[in-house]
Symmetry: C2
Subunit: 300 residues, 2 copies
């Protein structure tokens, strides 16, 4: 039995990307919030509507300073551990040896496994995605001071769909700030409302390019004309706040971040929840799926 046989065939591709010669902007054909709001929901009606309309929601002071301190201590331990030691799931900054990201922390690390299963979080995920969920991807982003480079604009879903075989827009990201986010330390920027459009990108994906793409994205990059269209129609928000804040954002919202030349790191824990009803299928690129530490298939 070859690996291919274990992968479910992909249904018709509603969001084709990296196949056409010209970029295009398609309409989203999936819901955004998959549950009907009630007074029992873990978000207020206002929060739920904000998320539906803008494709993101910023929850200030969601976790306590004491919780954040525990996670920061663990983060520092890992940063030290991997400063020297190489590991497949550890990605370094472009142009330096600083640790940029550590992947699959929900899998390898008991502290962050606990965080990913935190009932305050999973209740919200199950509400927004309308089902049980599992972690599709997790990582710590260090975004170190001085040397932290930009993350260019992208829709996560574009990559997860093409490279991992995620069929529908029924996943979301949760970024837990372990340091204060300020306008000056390269915070996440979001185009509110852009989750309603799918930017179909040009350029075929080379085999096994993922190692490089985690340092610097070169495929699945939206074209400047589409980005200008989105920015002019939706604007750019920059949600910032204290450590312990949580930013939720839809898998298809256009987002990115500038470089961080400030002395202050902008470390965060990044957890992607996918609906169990949105299992990964064969990647729409037709290529081999990316490894488990980038896109969990086994946990389904």
């Amino acid at each position: 039995m070859t690996v291919e046989h274990t992968i479910t065939q992909a249904p018709a591709d509603r969001y084709p990307s990296r196949v056409a010669q010209e970029p295009s902007i398609l309409r989203r054909s999936d819901p955004i919030v998959y549950s009907k709001w009630s007074t029992d929901s873990p978000l207020t009606q206002e929060q739920s509507s904000f998320y539906e309309r803008n494709g993101y929601l910023f929850l200030e002071n969601f976790f306590s300073p004491a919780e954040v301190e525990d996670w920061k201590a663990e983060l520092k331990r890992l940063q030290k551990q991997y400063r020297e030691g190489e590991a497949e799931h550890v990605i370094r900054e472009p142009g330096s040896d600083e640790v940029r990201s550590i992947f699959a922390v929900h899998d390898h690390n008991p502290v962050f496994r606990g965080l990913s299963a935190h009932p305050k979080l999973t209740a919200i995920m199950e509400y927004l995605l309308g089902s049980k969920t599992y972690i599709h991807q997790s990582r710590i982003n260090f975004k170190p001071g001085f040397t932290g480079k930009e993350f260019y604009w992208h829709s996560d879903f574009e990559t997860w769909h093409v490279e991992d075989g995620m069929p529908a827009m029924r996943a979301l990201s949760c970024s837990i700030a372990l340091e204060d986010n300020n306008p000056y330390n390269g915070p996440l920027m979001v185009m509110p409302g852009s989750h309603n459009k799918f930017v179909s990108c040009v350029g075929r994906t080379p085999e096994n390019h993922f190692k490089q793409s985690l340092r610097k994205q070169e495929y699945g990059v939206p074209d400047q004309e589409s980005l200008t269209f989105l920015a002019q129609n939706y604007g750019i928000d920059m949600p910032v706040g204290k450590a312990g804040s949580v930013l939720l954002f839809d898998c298809n919202v256009m987002h990115g971040s500038a470089s961080n030349i400030s002395p202050y790191p902008r470390s965060n824990v990044f957890l992607v929840y996918n609906s169990v009803e949105n299992r990964l299928v064969r990647p729409y690129s037709g290529q081999q799926p990316r490894p488990e530490y980038i896109a969990a298939r086994g946990a389904q």
Copy 2:
């Protein structure tokens, strides 16, 4: 007669940099505002005090939209002209051929020569520097959307002192915004109060490195420890506002800017005024001065 004979010998170096093995932080021994404030001054007392205390001053809506439109039209004409044509005073972005800066616009270009001599500007410069002034350096910074890269932290004076032979801190920069500045398009960041400290940098300056350094600074770069000290003691401000706003900042204030991945350019006209009583002398590096289009000596 060789070029060296035309250059005034440097007085004792009160701000040594790029000579020691270790970085250090020295105290400023020059005034900041060189005139005594009176009701006739072109700044309010509050504005003058703000500048003295913080090393910068942001003047919102200083120029009218009509004036800005004229300058933008000229800027676009120049950008188009130099997109193809090479010229010594035109600097391109690191990693792309986009025009990053055009130098000496006060000299080569009638429109920007007029702007640099604008009475509303020169009155303020003469007040702050306590004498007649001249343009030490001018440039247009395009800071294009999508591809505009960061300017790392630096004190302008450190470079002008070491590489150009500017003896005292009696110069200031004036950045005129030709586009709206937002937190998301890589605006200038300033450490308010840092103009009171001089960060002495390590590393000798290679001969004729300036061509490269205008794309990406590699010498005269403050060390991370000093920057952390300054940020912790002074904080980081990010003055932003509409096109037509003017940012004045002392030659020694620590400043920089992050990359600009937004679709919106952050073009500005950058004029450096030096006191006629602060004429350039032999560069403190002991090397040949940089060319006239980067550091005007003839106009003294």
